[in-house]
Amino acid sequence: MFFLKELEKIIQLHPSYFGPLIRSHIHRELLTKEEGSNTGKFTIVCILDNFDISEGQVIPGSGSAEYTVHYKAIVWRPYKGEVVDGVVTSVIGSGFFVDCGSLQAFVGRAMIPSEINFDSNATPPQWTDNGDQVIEKGANIRIKIKGLRTEVDRMYAIGTIKEDYLGPLQS
C-alpha cells in the first residue's frame, strides 16, 4: 500500500562542501541515497521536491556539519493479506520466487493450487496446469502476501496463489 509519509534524515557534510552549493549537495544526497531504499518496513518510492533543511550544526571534533532534512516521500509498505502483482524471477521444484518491486516473495508448493504442477522438463522449468496458466521465469503474476519478514534493509514475503483471482496474469 502506498503512503505519503513525512520523514527525516540527517545528512553530514564535509567542510569542503561548505559553500553556495550546500543545498544542492544535500538535495542530491537525499535523492540518491533515499529514493529506492528500504527501511525494513517500507520502501521509499519518491521524494517530494519541497523539503526543509535545518540550519547546519558543526560537529565538534570533526568539522563536518550536520543537517536535518525533513521531507515527504511516497512510500510503499506491503501488508499481510495484500494482493500484489509481481514478476517471477526464479522457478524451482518447491515453488517460485516473485519480485514485487522491492519485495521478494516466495510462493511455496503448499501455496499453489493442486492443479498447477511443477514441470521440470520444460525449458525453462515451470509450474503449469497444462492449460493457459504457465508460471515460468519472467511471467507476470498476482499473489497474496501471507507472511512478511523484514530485515534491516530488505523485505521478504511468503505469498500464495491458492485463492480466487490469484495466479499468472494473461499478458
Binding site: L13, Y17, E29, F106, M111, G147, L148, R149, Y156
Partner: protein, 1024 residues
C-alpha cells in the same frame, strides 16, 4: 499387578505425590460400610515371580479415582482380574482347584503392593456381594495345611447362604445395589470426577517404618514368615498389610495395623528395621498416595531408551529392536562396551571374578565402540563365532550377538527406561543410518519419538499461541500467560471460554502457528537454529522455508518458536555464512552453511566440503583491493555483477576474488547457498559497482573531490631546484651545530641535503647536513647568503625585504632611544605607502611600533597621532622632527623644501645614515627631487637604503661599516634612480666591486624581488 508396580517403582516418580484427594459425601457414606478383609486371591500374571504379593482390598464399596495417566490400561487389567476373581469366587473354585491351591500358599495378610479395587466394575458385574460373603473366621484359621479344605468349605458356606436367601432378599440386594450405582452415576455427572474410595479415620492406620535401604522387600518377606508363625501359634496379629514402594521411597516400608502396639510387636526383632527411629503414622489424606501407581511409558520398536541394567551399560542409549509378545522382554540394540580381554588376567580362573562382584564400586567401563571382530579375534578367538556371509554377518562373542557392530541384547523391559531419554547428538551418531550413497542420515522419526517425551514447560514461553490437542479441553486455543513446571496457564482466545485463564499440562499442548509466521527451530532436530517462514501446517508438523538456504523443511511445532525479525544461524559460532575461510595452505573456501560443529564450505575448486570449525585456520576476509579481469580484459572488483560465459550462464554478485577465482552469489540459485565459483576468465562483467558509485555523486562526508589537488604534486610549489654544479661547492662555511660547531671548512662536495666538508682545523673530511652550515666570506668572515638558487639577484632582492626584519629586530629600539622619532616616522610613512606595501604587509606593524616609540620621546605625536601619513608631514610633522633632531640641521633645510612632497625621504635618510649625515643630506635633497617628479619609485627606492643602511650600522660595531657605506654610495650617486635600486639591493655586491651594482642595474630583477619565498629563505643567514 504388583510386579508391574515394582518395576515402575524403580523409576523416578514424577507424579504429584500429594494431590488433594476429593472427598464427597458418597465416600463418607460408603466408608461406613467398610468391611475389611484380606484378599485371598491373586492375579494370575504374577504367579511365581512375585510370591509375596498378596493384595489388599481396601474397600468394596469405594471407587478408584486415580487420575494417573496409566489408569486406563491398569484399570482394564484390574477389571479383568476382578472379573476372573469374582468368577472364581462364585463358581470356579471347584473347577480350578489347582490354581487356587497355588495362590493360597501365600500369606493372605500381607500385601507388598496393595491396590485399590475398582468398585464400579465389580458392581457392573453384579457379583460384589459374593466377595462379602467370605467369612472373617477363615482369615484367622487358615493355615498352609488346611487351605484346600478351607476353599471347599468356603464354597459350601457360600452356597448355603445363597440358598438361604429368599427371593425377596435377593431383590432387595439388587435394588440397593443399583440404586447406589445410579447415585454414583449422578454424583459423577455433577462433580465431573470419579468418586474415590478414600480411607477415613475409622480405617486402620498406616505406619512408615524406617528400614535399611534396599532391604525393604526382604523385610516384607520376613514379616510374612513371622505372621505365619504367629498364625500358627494362634496369636492375634492386628496387622492387615505390609508393603513397600519400590524405588520411590527407599528406606521405608509401610505397615497397616489397627494399633501401634500391633505394629510394634510384629516388627520387633526383625532384621534391618531401624527400631530406634520413630515410626511415622501416615495422615489419612496422604494414604492414597502411598498406593499411587506411576504410568509406565510403553515401549515401541524403533524407540530410543536408556539402559538401567546391566551396570556395564547403565545410562547408555539403546534402540528398541523388538518388544516380545509377552510384554516382559525386549530386544535392544546398543553400542557395546568391550575391551576384548585387554584388561583381563590371563591366569585367572575363568569366571572366578564373577562370583563376588565388586560391591558398591563402579568398575571402569570400556568406552562405547562398535563391535570389531578383528579385535575380538586377537585374544578371544575361542569366544567368537560367525554366522551369515559378507553383507550381513553377525557375530556371537562371549554369548552375545553382534550385528552391524551393535550389540543385540534381550533384556527385560524393566531393564530399560523410556523416560527422559534425551539422546545427545554424539550418542545418536552411532545410530546414524548410512545410506547407499554414503550419506549418513539419522532415523529422525526415532529421534523425534525419543525427544518428544522430553517436552517440558521450558519449550513454552509466555505469549506463545497454543492449542490443547488432548484431553477434555481438546481444541481450545489461547496464548500462554505463564509456565510453572509442566503446567501452562493460558488465556483462551476463542470459543465459549474466551477470555478465561485455564491451566493445562504441557503434554496436552501444541504450539499454534499460522502460515507466514516467522519461526525459529529451537530444538529436537538437526534443523536447530534454522529460521524461516511457515508455508504449511499439517497437524503438529510445520513446514517452513529456511531463510538461509531457501529450502523447505518440516519440523514439529513444539520445536518452533516465533522468531525475532532477523536472526542468524549459528550465532555462537566464529563463522558466518559467506565467510571466506582458509582451509589449508592452498585452499580457501566460502562458508555456505554453519552448523554447530560443522561448516559446509564451497572450496575454490567448487567442491563442497564439510569441515569442523577447528579445521579452519583463519577467516580470510575480503580484500578490498582484489581485482580480477574478465574474459574481455575488463576489471572485476568485489560487488560487481558478472555473468558466466558459456556453461550455465549463471550470473551473480562477486563477493570474493581470490587469485583470479570469483566467488559469486546469486540468491536465486538454491544449491550451495546460492554460491558458485568461476574463473575470472570465464565471466563477463555486467555492471561494475564503481560505475554506480560515480553516478550517485560524491560522498558528502568525505573531502570534496573538486577540492582535491589534481595530479600527484599539486600541492604547494616546491622550492626551485638548482641545476648543474652545486654553488655551494668550494664555499667557505662555518658549522653551526653539532660536535663540529663553530669550525670553519670548505665544502668539497654536496649530495642532496648533505655536504662534505673539509675542515680547516684538521685535515679531515666530514659529512654534515647542509642546513647546519653558514657560508662565510673567506676574506671578511662575514656570513653571506650563499644563493643556492638559480637567480642570484633574487636572493639579493630577498635581501631587500629581508632587511626589514633587521630594522625590526635590532634597530627599532635603538632608534627609539637614540634618535628622533619624527625623522624616522617620516621615513617610513612617507615612502612606504606604495613601496612597502608591495614588499609585505607583515612589516608595517614593525614600523608602526618603531614610529610610535620614537614619537613618544619627541612629543611630536600630535602630528602623528592622526595617522602615520603624509598629511601629518605636510604640516608640522617636518618641523617637529627638526626641532627634535638637533643633529639634522642639514637635513632640515633640504626638507623644508620637501615638505609638501615626501618628507619621508628626508627622514629616512637621516635616520639611516646618521654618521655620514651631511653627505646624505645632500643626497636626500637630490633624491627627494627625483621623488618629486616620480614619487612612487622614489618611495620605493628611498626607504630601501634607509632600511639597508642600518645593516652596516649594526655591523659597524664589528668592523665592516665603512665598507658597505663606501661602496654603495658612489653607485647611488652615479645613477640615482636605477643605481639606487641596484646599489641598495646589492648589499654584498659592494664587497666584490663597486662597479657591480652600477653595471647590473637590471630593473627586471627588481620586478621579482617581492616574492616572499626567497626572502624568507634569505633572512635566516642574515640574522646570524
Amino acid at each position: 499387578m504388583s510386579g508391574y508396580d515394582n518395576r515402575s517403582g524403580s523409576e523416578s516418580d514424577d507424579d504429584d505425590f500429594n494431590p488433594a484427594p476429593e472427598i464427597d459425601d458418597e465416600d463418607v457414606r460408603a466408608s461406613n460400610a467398610v468391611k475389611r478383609r484380606p484378599a485371598v486371591e491373586d492375579d494370575d500374571d504374577e504367579g511365581d515371580e512375585e510370591p509375596s504379593a498378596p493384595r489388599k482390598r481396601v474397600d468394596d464399596d469405594e471407587e478408584d479415582e486415580e487420575e494417573d495417566g496409566g489408569g486406563d490400561d491398569d484399570e482394564e487389567n484390574e477389571d479383568d482380574e476382578e472379573e476372573e476373581e469374582e468368577d472364581e469366587d462364585e463358581e470356579d473354585v471347584v473347577q480350578r482347584p489347582h490354581k487356587r491351591r497355588k495362590k493360597a500358599r501365600r500369606n493372605v495378610f500381607l500385601d507388598v503392593e496393595a491396590e485399590v479395587d475398582d468398585e464400579e466394575d465389580e458392581e457392573e458385574e453384579g457379583d460384589d456381594e459374593v466377595v462379602d460373603e467370605v467369612h472373617p473366621d477363615d482369615l484367622l484359621e487358615q493355615t498352609a495345611a488346611d487351605l484346600d479344605d478351607r476353599r471347599h468349605r468356603e464354597l459350601d458356606l457360600k452356597r448355603q447362604a445363597n440358598d438361604q436367601q429368599d427371593a425377596e432378599q435377593i431383590a432387595k440386594q439388587f435394588e440397593e445395589k443399583f440404586r447406589r450405582r445410579q447415585m454414583q452415576a449422578a454424583s459423577r455427572g455433577a462433580a465431573g470426577a470419579v468418586p474415590l474410595s478414600l480411607p477415613t479415620v475409622n480405617d486402620p492406620s498406616i505406619w512408615a517404618i524406617k528400614v535399611r535401604p534396599g532391604k525393604e522387600r526382604e523385610i516384607v518377606m520376613a514379616l510374612t514368615k513371622k505372621i505365619d508363625d504367629y498364625a500358627r501359634a494362634g496369636r492375634q496379629i492386628g496387622v492387615y498389610s505390609a508393603f513397600e514402594r519400590g524405588g520411590t521411597m527407599t528406606g521405608y516400608m509401610y505397615l497397616e495395623a489397627d494399633a501401634k502396639q500391633d505394629m510394634l510387636s510384629l516388627i520387633d526383632g526383625v532384621q534391618n528395621i531401624f527400631m530406634s527411629q520413630p515410626q511415622i503414622a501416615i495422615e489419612v489424606k496422604e494414604r492414597p498416595d502411598l498406593l499411587r501407581k506411576r504410568k509406565r511409558t510403553p515401549l515401541e520398536e524403533g524407540k530410543f531408551v536408556r539402559m538401567v541394567r546391566p551396570p556395564l551399560y547403565r545410562g547408555d542409549l539403546a534402540k528398541v529392536v523388538e518388544v516380545h509378545s509377552n510384554g516382559l522382554d525386549c530386544t535392544v540394540q546398543l553400542v557395546p562396551r568391550l575391551d576384548y580381554g585387554l584388561g583381563e588376567d590371563a591366569n585367572a580362573a575363568d569366571g572366578a571374578k564373577r562370583k563376588r562382584p565388586m560391591f558398591g564400586r563402579t568398575v571402569e567401563r570400556p568406552p562405547q565402540k562398535l563391535f570389531n571382530d578383528v579385535e575380538a579375534r586377537k585374544r578371544h578367538m575361542k569366544h567368537l563365532s560367525v554366522q551369515g556371509s559378507a553383507g550381513s554377518r553377525h557375530f556371537t562373542y562371549k554369548g552375545e550377538d553382534y550385528q552391524g557392530g551393535f550389540l543385540i541384547k534381550d533384556v527385560k523391559v524393566n531393564f530399560v527406561s523410556a523416560e527422559n531419554v534425551n539422546p545427545k547428538m554424539e550418542e545418536m551418531q552411532f545410530f546414524a543410518v548410512t545410506g547407499a550413497d554414503g550419506t549418513e542420515t539419522l532415523d529422525l522419526v526415532a529421534v523425534q519419538a525419543a525427544q518428544k517425551a522430553a517436552q517440558s514447560g521450558s519449550s513454552f514461553i509466555s505469549g506463545d499461541n497454543v492449542e490443547i490437542y488432548d484431553g477434555e479441553q481438546k481444541g481450545i486455543r489461547g496464548t500462554t500467560v505463564s509456565v510453572t513446571g509442566d503446567i501452562v496457564t493460558l488465556k483462551v482466545l476463542e470459543g465459549d471460554l474466551k477470555g478465561r485463564s485455564i491451566e493445562a499440562p504441557v503434554k496436552t499442548l501444541r504450539k499454534l502457528f499460522r502460515d507466514g509466521d516467522h519461526v525459529k527451530v529451537i530444538g529436537g532436530s538437526k534443523y536447530i537454529d534454522e529460521v524461516g517462514m511457515v508455508t504449511k501446517i499439517r497437524d503438529d508438523k510445520v513446514t517452513l522455508l529456511c531463510d538461509s538456504t531457501q529450502t523447505e523443511i518440516t519440523v514439529f511445532s513444539k520445536d518452533l518458536k516465533r522468531a525475532a525479525d532477523s536472526a542468524t544461524l549459528g550465532t555462537d559460532s566464529n563463522f558466518e555464512l559467506y565467510d571466506l575461510v582458509q582451509i589449508d595452505a592452498a585452499t580457501v573456501g566460502c562458508v555456505i552453511k554453519v552448523d554447530r560443529e560443522i561448516l559446509r564450505v564451497l572450496d575454490q575448486n567448487a567442491n563442497v566440503r564439510n569441515i569442523l570449525h577447528t579445521q579452519v585456520s583463519t577467516i580470510v576476509g575480503r580484500n578490498r583491493n582484489a581485482v580480477a579481469t574478465d574474459r574481455d580484459g575488463a576489471e572485476i572488483r568485489n560487488d560487481d555483477t558478472v555473468k558466466e560465459h558459456g556453461g550455465e550462464g549463471r550470473q551473480g554478485k562477486v563477493i570474493y576474488i581470490h587469485r583470479g577465482l570469483l566467488f559469486v552469489q546469486n540468491r536465486e540459485i538454491l544449491e550451495n547457498g546460492g554460491l558458485f565459483v568461476v574463473r575470472g576468465q570465464n565471466v563477463t562483467t555486467m555492471a561494475a559497482k564503481s560505475g554506480r558509485a560515480q553516478a550517485s555523486g560524491p560522498d558528502l562526508s568525505k573531502l570534496n573531490p573538486g577540492m582535491q589537488p589534481q595530479g600527484p604534486n599539486a600541492g604547494a610549489m616546491p622550492p626551485p631546484r638548482s641545476m648543474g654544479r652545486d654553488k655551494m661547492i668550494g664555499k667557505t662555511i662555518v658549522i653551526r651545530k653539532g660536535p663540529y660547531k663553530g669550525l670553519l671548512g670548505i665544502v668539497k662536495d654536496t649530495n642532496g641535503s648533505d655536504a662534505r666538508i673539509e675542515l680547516h682545523t684538521k685535515n679531515k673530511q666530514i659529512t654534515i647536513k647542509r642546513e647546519l652550515l653558514t657560508i662565510k666570506d673567506p676574506l671578511t668572515g662575514q656570513s653571506m647568503d650563499y644563493g643556492g638558487g638559480k637567480f642570484p639577484n633574487r636572493s639579493r632582492g630577498g635581501g631587500y625585504p629581508g632587511a626589514t626584519p633587521n630594522h625590526n629586530s635590532g634597530r627599532t629600539p635603538g632608534w627609539g632611544s637614540k634618535r628622533d622619532g619624527p625623522s624616522w616616522g617620516a621615513t617610513p610613512s612617507g615612502g612606504r605607502t606604495p613601496g612597502w606595501g608591495g614588499v609585505g604587509g607583515g612589516r608595517t606593524p614593525g614600523w608602526g611600533g618603531g614610529d610610535r616609540t620614537s614619537y613618544g620621546g619627541d612629543g611630536s605625536r600630535t602630528a602623528y597621532g592622526g595617522d602615520g601619513s603624509r598629511t601629518a608631514y605636510g604640516g608640522d610633522g617636518a618641523r617637529t622632527s627638526y626641532g627634535g633632531g638637533t643633529s639634522y640641521g642639514g637635513a632640515t633645510t633640504s626638507y623644508g623644501g620637501n615638505d609638501g612632497a615626501r618628507t619621508a625621504y628626508g627622514g629616512g635618510f637621516h635616520a639611516g645614515g646618521r654618521t655620514p649625515g651631511p653627505s646624505w643630506g645632500g643626497n636626500s635633497s637630490s633624491n627627494s627631487r627625483t621623488n618629486l617628479s616620480a614619487p612612487t619609485p622614489g618611495g620605493y627606492s628611498a626607504p630601501t637604503p634607509a632600511a639597508y643602511a642600518p645593516t652596516p650600522g649594526d655591523y659597524g660595531l664589528t668592523a665592516p661599516t665603512p665598507g658597505p657605506v663606501d661602496a654603495p654610495t658612489p653607485g647611488n650617486f652615479t645613477a640615482p634612480t636605477p643605481g639606487n635600486t641596484t646599489g641598495l639591493s646589492k648589499g654584498y655586491g659592494g664587497y666584490g666591486a663597486a662597479a657591480t651594482p652600477a653595471a647590473a642595474p637590471t630593473p627586471g630583477a627588481w620586478a621579482a624581488p617581492e616574492t616572499p619565498a626567497p626572502s624568507g629563505y634569505d633572512e635566516d643567514p642574515r640574522y646570524d
